[in-house]
Symmetry: C2
DNA sequence: TTCTGCCTCTTTCCATCGTCAAGATTGAGG
DNA sequence: CCTCAATCTTGACGATGGAAAGAGGCAGAA
């Protein structure tokens, strides 16, 4: 039985294809509308094909979350690299990168910071999440190098909570329901500057 | 012709029982483990019984979210009522109430502020969520009554984001992985005081 | 080269899910 | 008492996640 070249018996990149289609599906249907069979359908394979690459649907979700954390870290460092100025503006830039990733991948972002992801508890996921936290801690550390360890930790809590909370509430529609994208960005930047100002003031 | 709650028949309080068992199930299994049939099972009725009281599983989830927002508002006002001092300490107290509710109902809290809940878009849910936002805006307003409208909005963003972000990250395990409950409360209070200080300073 | 073993994918099957349709049960009003 | 409508049960359908078994295809051994 002849098979077209487009759909050979061996896909070759099924794992990547499943992750890709899964990601699109997640953004499209949300976590409750996410199904393994639809992922397989979009990748052009049978519904049982994913089983070899992902032990379960949770395994696939964990993989997506890991990807998300890696890209989140990349977005944060990229924005910092683009920024001019000192450690304080770097802290703001890192927040901009954080929000930009979240805004571009809202459903994935929520999955990454959801109880469902936490329930997965794979080492790779924990490591990827920790890398993001370390980036953040380093930025706070650089902004207030002379502060005590306790102050640094509290300011890290504070900065992280502000940024994460703002973008979370925004993506959930709790903030700025009918505001324009431009206005929302201004509100976000305003929040970031208030956050950085407080960090520097308390930590100096 | 009469309402179901006014004319109970076999179970008598099925709607309430389903909401109650559903809430327990949600906290136990998370949003992906939440099933209508298990709710019915725990309420002691057949799998199709819920259909009369809730048009769909999303209807039940929306009801739970509405309950959650109402209780969140109650927790916030209760903590404010217990607090001594002026508007600034009331702002802190409201944050304490917010965090206390979230800590006591982590899965429900995540549902309330999830994209899934947002997708439901029932009027009752929107109203319940708005009531919480109004409580928060009023507390900020009282803390900085002489500030401009724009400053008030920015400080409301800031205060809400800090509180929501901190408890969200905490419940997801991104903050204070192995710290004691006492230490975590101290970190939360420290964050709240830094938040209130910034609000008052910027808004005065 | 041919053969053999293993990795990959398909097919088939099962228990469970949400929802619908139809039948049974019960309390209330005529 | 008797009908009737609201409530609940039973049964069914399509869809899902996962397991089991078989087929296809590649790569290394002979």
């Amino acid at each position: 039985m002849a098979r077209s070249k487009a759909q050979p018996y061996h896909h070759g990149q099924l794992r990547e294809a499943l992750a890709s289609s899964g990601r699109a599906l997640l953004e499209e249907k949300g976590i409750r509308g996410f199904t393994l069979r639809e992922c397989a359908r979009r990748a052009g394979v049978s519904h049982a094909a994913p089983a070899y690459h992902f032990a379960s649907i949770d395994d696939l979700l964990a993989e997506l979350a890991v990807q998300g954390f890696n890209e989140l870290a990349a977005a944060m460092t990229a924005e910092v690299a683009r920024a001019e100025g000192g450690a304080t503006s770097h802290l703001v830039a890192q927040g901009v990168g954080y929000m930009a990733f979240a805004a571009g991948n809202p459903a994935l972002f929520q999955l990454m910071f959801s109880r469902e992801a936490n329930r997965l508890e794979t080492p790779a996921l924990a490591a990827a999440a920790e890398a993001v936290r370390n980036l953040h801690a380093a930025a706070v550390e650089a902004a207030i190098p002379h502060a005590s360890g306790e102050i640094k930790q509290r300011m890290a809590d504070f900065a992280g909570a502000s940024v994460h909370g703002f973008i979370s509430l925004l993506l959930d529609g709790q903030i700025g329901g009918k505001d324009s994208s431009r206005a929302l960005k201004a509100r976000g930047l305003s929040l970031l500057s208030a956050m950085a100002e407080t960090v520097v003031r308390v930590g100096s």
